[in-house]
Amino acid sequence: MARLTAGIACSHVPAIGAALDNGKAGDDYWKPLFAGFDFVKQWIAAEKPDVVFLVYNDHATAFSLDFIPTFAIGCAEEFQPADEGWGARPVPMVEGAPELASHIAQSVIEDDFDLTIVNRMEVDHGLTVPLSLMFGQPAAWPCKVIPFAVNVVQYRPPSGRRCYMLGKAIRRAIDSFPGDLNVQIWGTGGMSHQLQGPRAGLINREWDAKFLDRIVNDADSLSRTPHIEYVKQAGSEGIELVMWLIMRGAMDDEVEQVYRFYHVPASNTAVGHLVLKNKEAA
């Protein structure tokens, strides 16, 4: 049976990818940020996941205003890194896991969560920056990836509660897959940041710290945080944090925090990072 062995959360700021791609990771500005991911790089090399179920949002790359799926699951064999306006990132092609992805899609839809199935899609920094943070700059990514895109661009994004419950359905789907696979789920985006208007640059260190505490030990209640609180406290783009709740929902109720990191700033954004294991397995 497939096993969900860990949950990871991290931000996915495009400037992080640009720093890495342009050889600036060792600069004074970026060094403390990348140092926060030294632990996970070593840890994940030992964990060797077969598949990562990667929850992220598309930033008007694969999805324009033509189609705005609330939840989209990538079932293709491969996903090319996209040109987001400055040329595609020089990172490896992303290999999919079509069999597991299709199984999850079917199972989750049977479980009353309607997904959009995507068989052709390019992936942007939302997906490739987390891969770079965990794996560095390999010639090929060391695992398969199921891209799972969440609409947080046009209001109304799904509620935190909906995301949390969806995570539980995804977990049931992974548990019921008849193949011996080591699966991780990653929730990406956030933390507090606002990229638009006169309020750009908003960071809320205190609110972020509470979010990091609660997603570990008080996730069920955290998932009921209303949309407007994210906007007011974590900035208009802080709403990306609902994607962490999909990851958290897929984990057991009781988890152990293996690692936690927080850093301000990466360009306009507060960067948060968690590594979680289920308590029984830890």
């Binding site: 606002q194 638009q196 208007g197």
Partner: protein
């Protein structure tokens, strides 16, 4: 129409269905800049390129002026508008500084200092 619960957040436009309808052609123009040949054509003749889109004159003027706050008011969404400053070879931090009216350096310093505090904490710190 009922009051929007997110209507009173200062300096913030929530990209909802109303904004999305207003900005449809503006945002779809931005999407076209994901292709390198379109970026070249746009930079070579901005007015000519914009005239191929069903945008309002106000939207076209805002694009040519690179007035991002105006573009947002006219229905633009920042992730779409990012294609314009990417075409200009500019970063998100460049655009963010511009929208706040700060210099690049002042904005970068503010971020290094921990960023802008939310209004709730500003009130506390003054009260």
């Amino acid at each position: 129409m009922s009051e929007k619960p997110y209507g009173d957040v200062p300096g913030t436009v929530i990209f909802d269905a109303e904004q999305s309808r207003k900005g449809y052609h503006l945002n779809q123009f931005c999407m076209s800049l994901l292709k390198a040949p379109n970026r070249e054509r746009f930079l070579a003749d901005e007015r000519g390129y914009l005239d191929e889109w069903k945008m309002t004159e106000e939207q076209k003027q805002a694009v040519m002026a690179r007035d991002y706050n105006r573009m947002i008011a006219l229905g633009g969404n920042i992730y779409f508008l990012a294609k314009i400053f990417a075409t200009d070879g500019k970063s998100f931090q460049y655009a963010a500084a511009l929208m706040t009216g700060m210099t690049q350096q002042d904005y970068a310093d503010m971020m290094l200092g921990g960023g802008r505090k939310p209004e709730s904490q500003e009130e506390n710190s003054h009260g």
